[in-house]
Symmetry: C2
Amino acid sequence: MPEPPRSRWRGEFQRWFDWVLEVGGFYDYGRYPVKGVGVWLPYGFRLRRLVTSLIRDVLDSAGHEEVLLPIFIPETLLRKESEHIKGFESEVFWVTRAGVNELDVRLALRPTSETAISYMESFWIKSYKQLPKKYYQIVSMFRYETKATRPMIRLREVTTFKEAHTVHESFEDADATVAEAIELYKKIFDSLGIPYLVSRRPEWDKFAGAVYTVAFDTIMPDGRTLQIGTVHHLGQNFTIPFEVRIQRRDETIDYAWQTSYGISDRIIAATIALHGDDRGACLPPIVAPVQVVIVPIPSGGTIPDELKKTAEKLEEELKAAGLRVHTDWRLDVRPGRKYYEWEARGVPVRVELGAREAREGVLTVARRDKLEKLRIPLDTAVDEIKKLLDDIMNTLRQRAWSWLRSMTHRSTSVEEARSIVSKRMGVVEVPWCGREECGHRLEELLDAKILGTPLDEDASWVDGEKCMACGAKAVTVLRAAKTY
Amino acid sequence: MPEPPRSRWRGEFQRWFDWVLEVGGFYDYGRYPVKGVGVWLPYGFRLRRLVTSLIRDVLDSAGHEEVLLPIFIPETLLRKESEHIKGFESEVFWVTRAGVNELDVRLALRPTSETAISYMESFWIKSYKQLPKKYYQIVSMFRYETKATRPMIRLREVTTFKEAHTVHESFEDADATVAEAIELYKKIFDSLGIPYLVSRRPEWDKFAGAVYTVAFDTIMPDGRTLQIGTVHHLGQNFTIPFEVRIQRRDETIDYAWQTSYGISDRIIAATIALHGDDRGACLPPIVAPVQVVIVPIPSGGTIPDELKKTAEKLEEELKAAGLRVHTDWRLDVRPGRKYYEWEARGVPVRVELGAREAREGVLTVARRDKLEKLRIPLDTAVDEIKKLLDDIMNTLRQRAWSWLRSMTHRSTSVEEARSIVSKRMGVVEVPWCGREECGHRLEELLDAKILGTPLDEDASWVDGEKCMACGAKAVTVLRAAKTY
């Protein structure tokens, strides 16, 4: 097993993340002979299953229906909405040949599915009575990224793209669905303890084809922000070219209104990166493939019968309580080595069970988040461990939020703001007049990317402040950061 | 809703199947502007979820680990095993462009993943101590089919391709895994009540790159066979070119041995097709997205309070018993119409609940398989309905097996055999000397495709018979049929 880098912070984060993906058995990256694609390994795949199942539960219970659309989008379809194709043209993978034939119409591998689903919705949806409609799918999505690719973060095949597509009767209904989607995404990220900033993206950085875009960003351990979710109001931008017409309540015919919202592999990258430490991952119990690992301590090269029975009984009881448990029976690996491995893989609770513990009826339990050991009575172990898992979840969440808050700064001075972004990293919030040219100017002045205007906090502190670019009256806050 | 075709049998099966996919809300086919691809609709997707989850349970509990490999296979990789590329070359989709660039190396969309995983296994696997290894993934797979495409049955994007890939220490271990895979597949098909013939495919029709191939075929309602699963012994055919080397017990280094086995969307096609009737689908309870539909019968345009309470309580109790239940509260659709819809969608049990039933405490229950109505007491309804679902499952399974048996014929006369295949359809079994040239000759004589030799039945009936092609002593049975 490779040695960990000295620290996951700052310049070392990339190395730390590559290391944790390997040592944790999550993801094999950089060996497959195609740039920007990776392999989900068995343990990583189990994490992915639990994350996607959490996403499905949230969406299903809010009335979304899962579907599966083709991967191929014919060029003719992709070109129907002109802003959309402009935004994606430079990063589309094209299938041009099949067998020995040249295809008449080139097929794009879906960079996103607004065009495909709008085409189908023109058949499916005829009346306001069918609305709202909320579809989603979890699929591979393709972008020919020309920037440096990174495992789970910037890929050419994004294997876990959850894209929701909704249809509505009016602009306002679509607006309300954007608000609902934001709440659902908060619920999903909160479940995983991932902290976020919610910003309305500037006009020049909205989704290609959207009326407006709201984005969730988190702050990675190196201080760069990572976009982890987006929600788009699509207006009638796709329903007009694709002729998704509905009969309205007043019996007139109009084009329908749409939204779309997406989450990708990055939610798993953030889950691993944000809660980890120098020993490896620390997975939130809600999605940890193994929540409790039991390590029976052999004596004299074997595991005594009594100990064996105690360990089996404990595993059984924990499983009966609905927990994901694994007992590490290996005899050719020393306990210390096992601790090291399971810590790297992020298992939240480890139970060390020796002959003495079995005899005395007291367990030694190590919590991964605080690297602390506790002793708990065997006969209340199930309840204590359940409580411990809850406590770990809360600790991870609070710690990650403290981190995000500590990395979000306000400034009214260009010099200070620029220095924050370049030295301390994280997000800087500055006063802004709201004009696009000042936004672009600030991008240069701060040498940072503009995330947009906050939707999750009061901007009244800029009252009386001046736009940092032009000196005119500030009307809102602009967030900027070094981004992934 | 379109009218059903007169019958699902024979010449009408194709029309019936298209109709049931549409009217049941399973799958949208033929409208998306790319040939050979379809859209899983919400109800169909729920069926697909339940089927894939059944497959996952069987594989997981037999020690398989789920992974996810890239969709892209570089041409260089695909060409490493020469038989393999020969077999697939004519049906590969090629990505040749990305953004505005021509790619240096063309990327195939996976037609199957032996090459991709063998490449990775050369990094992952070093010693016999790690073996056996059993991986699988459920992914989209791509074949540029030039024959007529058909929904779920012959697609260019097969969206539900479960491919397992295993690695072993010896030829014999791989052989034993083929046998295990056959048992696992039987378990999966048996769960769904899908009957099958297990045949060893002839040499000239084995998987491209296999030592030998075993296949599962079922017989569709029109009498054509449908290949629903295959299991391949791959020998060292991939481990040699991909250099998957292992240290053996005796410390020598050797190439590892492999198997692979696959199931596709066709398992869902067979589930829908085999149990259906002129009213639509009849889904096996184990995977029916709705196992019980409750239809409260309104009186005077509303549902009386007492009836409402009874229906809600029944739904709650059935759900508490772990059943998937839906209550159809719609007031703008008449009960008769509802029955028609839920029958088409294949819901196994329908509960009709009027004011009289609620008052008398007796339910009218319709079973979809036999189209019979029963009356059961409300207070034992949960138990009765659970028993009924079991009984429906058994009925479907037995009926489908009777069908398959009735469509499998033995013959020792060319004329008769040829007439069976062309008129009565189904499978014909004939005596064979085992030589390849006679196999090809029989294909012509019978105007049928050779499925291979039976692995699931005693071939001793051909003792003393003559090869139907050459007249020499028959040593085995050859199965032939019109196939999909």
